[in-house]
Amino acid sequence: MFGYIVKRLVMIFPVILGVSFIIFTIVNLAPGDPAMMILGEGAKQEEYEALREEMGLNDPFFVRYFHYVADALQGNFGKSYRTNIPVFQEIACRLPYTVNLAVTSTLIAIILGLPIGVLSAVKQYTASDNAAIGVSLVLTSMPDFWFAMMLILLFSLKLRLLPSLGVESWRHFILPAIANSASTMASLLRMTRSTMLEVIRQDYVRTARAKGAKESRVVFGHSLRNALLPVVTVIGVNFGFSLGGAIVVEQVFAIPGLGQLMVNAIRAKDTPMVIASVLFAAIIVSVINLIVDIVYVYIDPRLKSRYVTVGAKRAMS
């Protein structure tokens, strides 16, 4: 088990290196000269040239890439071309807001999606089941920016209940979190429902029912635990995605998170910032995938036996 974890952790490094190479290539293909962006129009030609030399923009492609990797390995991810602030600091500033948004929206998705999914499975083919499926379908099919605008119109303008902009208080995060959680909640609902349906028909559940166990014990005791497996994957995947930048939601609600940082950096051709923030997102996604896989192993008895037994066997022999 431990060996598996270590092996997966080690595998993250080549992946991150690969990501850095891809992003570096793409960003450098883009037109747009950082020197011009920084100095604006109207500066003299020599000034642009001088700044370009200083930023090392005239070196060939691979030289620049190697410089970048060498610096990064020492912990120096460079300074933003735009603001001259170290990239790490900018990311650290924005991180709390994005994490807050991701956690809140995942929680909302779980709190709403799981119970409704279970209920829906238990009461299959009734009106409430169909309603739940219908709602979840519409939610997955809606673009999140449209949902966000509708939410703002209703709760912020018509009802004047919640703020629509900014990050001052916990109330400011409610609407963005709901907007962000829509698709996660919908897929959680459907996933839970289908795995519950699958499990409910299994033999051991029928046995439990035949033995006279209470319905709720049947549902929660036996079915739910096994239904959780794919649910964990969905949660992990969506959490990773939110951290990668709920770009549109952050733009609409003026949340200064990682997504906004990335989009602005890409637009401004702020290469160090783009690479560092995408790398950051990639690392987080990889780590979360690893965590999900580990949790999976512990939950799924079939996998657990495979991994744990191997180790135990070795210990015994």
């Binding site: 891809i22 992003i23 293909l29 673009p143 449209w146 930048g245 890409i266 995408v278």
Partner: protein
């Protein structure tokens, strides 16, 4: 020589059983799909939308109806002449929604083409050859998977410029890893089967085996992924157009129309509602179809 003379008969035996397998699987899937009312609804809805969109040129003219501006009739509410009203340049909103469907359809199909071709080649190769090749290919796919979809698309489009071609390229590339994974796993599940062994024993070339025997039978999960890709690409295109990295004026793409309409939501809501509903309908029909297919293919859900 003896071996060779045996070949044709065993070849035809393989082919016969192969054909039998294929037909019965397709039929089973279709029968099961028919029972799922939601999936059929999705299929029908999608079919209707495709028909309306593809036949648009028969009863409308792109330039006159969807593009030409007439500033004297701006912001008209829905009426007989303009069932969905007019927009800020006096253009017919219904016409724009319909032609917008054509663009979304085109983008969705093109994205699928790119991701399916590349993904199938990569996934099938990885599964078939296994070992080192498999490892390397999957590692490369992991690298692409680690970058969030939208971010990858934005970076590519920002780098290469905003145009439909770059958009399709960006979205196609970001869907390749997922597609290759699906192909790989479904190919792996087939590879162990006997008729593949037999084909190999006959000396059939690798490429032929992959394309004629393996892929057709792996179609099921691939089709499901295709529907999901189309649905996702419609949403991604609209999201990208919304933040200004998608299509350009005067293209009537749904997300682009939404971004132009968001200022008018309080005075002229019909401008924001129409394209939004169109997106929901398109994505929903694809999702329903995909779910239905997945249920129909799943051997465990035999009622």
């Amino acid at each position: 020589m003896t071996g060779n003379s045996v070949l044709p008969s065993s070849g035809s035996a393989v082919t016969k059983s192969h054909q039998y397998k294929k037909k019965s699987q397709l039929r089973t899937v279709w029968l099961r799909l028919k029972k799922n009312r939601m999936a059929i609804f999705g299929l029908l809805l999608f079919a209707v939308m495709v028909c309306v969109v593809l036949s648009a040129d028969l009863y409308m003219n792109y330039e006159e109806d969807a593009v030409a501006q007439n500033l004297s009739i701006r912001f008209q509410p829905p009426s007989r002449e303009f069932p969905l009203g007019t927009d800020q340049y006096g253009r017919n909103v219904l016409a724009r929604v319909i032609y917008g469907g054509r663009i979304s359809l085109f983008v969705g199909l093109a994205t699928v083409c790119i991701s399916l071709t590349a993904g199938a080649v990569i996934g099938a190769t990885a599964a078939y050859y296994g070992g080192r090749v498999d490892d390397i290919l999957m590692r490369i796919m992991d690298v692409f998977l680690a970058i969030p979809n939208t971010l990858m698309a934005i970076t590519i489009v920002a780098a290469l410029g905003t145009s439909i071609v770059n958009l399709i390229l960006a979205m196609g590339i970001s869907q390749i890893p997922r597609m290759s994974r699906i192909v790989r796993s479904s190919v792996l599940s087939i590879i162990g089967q006997e008729y593949i062994e037999a084909a190999r024993a006959c000396g059939t070339g690798d490429g032929r085996i992959i394309f004629r025997h393996i892929l057709p039978n792996a179609m099921g999960p691939i089709l499901v992924q295709v529907t999901q890709t189309v649905a996702r690409s419609v949403i991604t295109v609209s999201a990208l157009s919304f933040i200004g990295l998608g299509v350009s004026e005067p293209t009537p793409e749904w997300g682009f129309m939404l971004s132009e309409a968001k200022h008018q939501m309080r005075c002229h809501p019909h401008l924001a509602v129409a394209p939004g509903i169109a997106i929901v309908m398109a994505v929903m029909s694809m999702t329903l179809l995909g779910d239905g297919l997945r249920d129909a293919l799943d051997p465990r859900l035999k009622n």
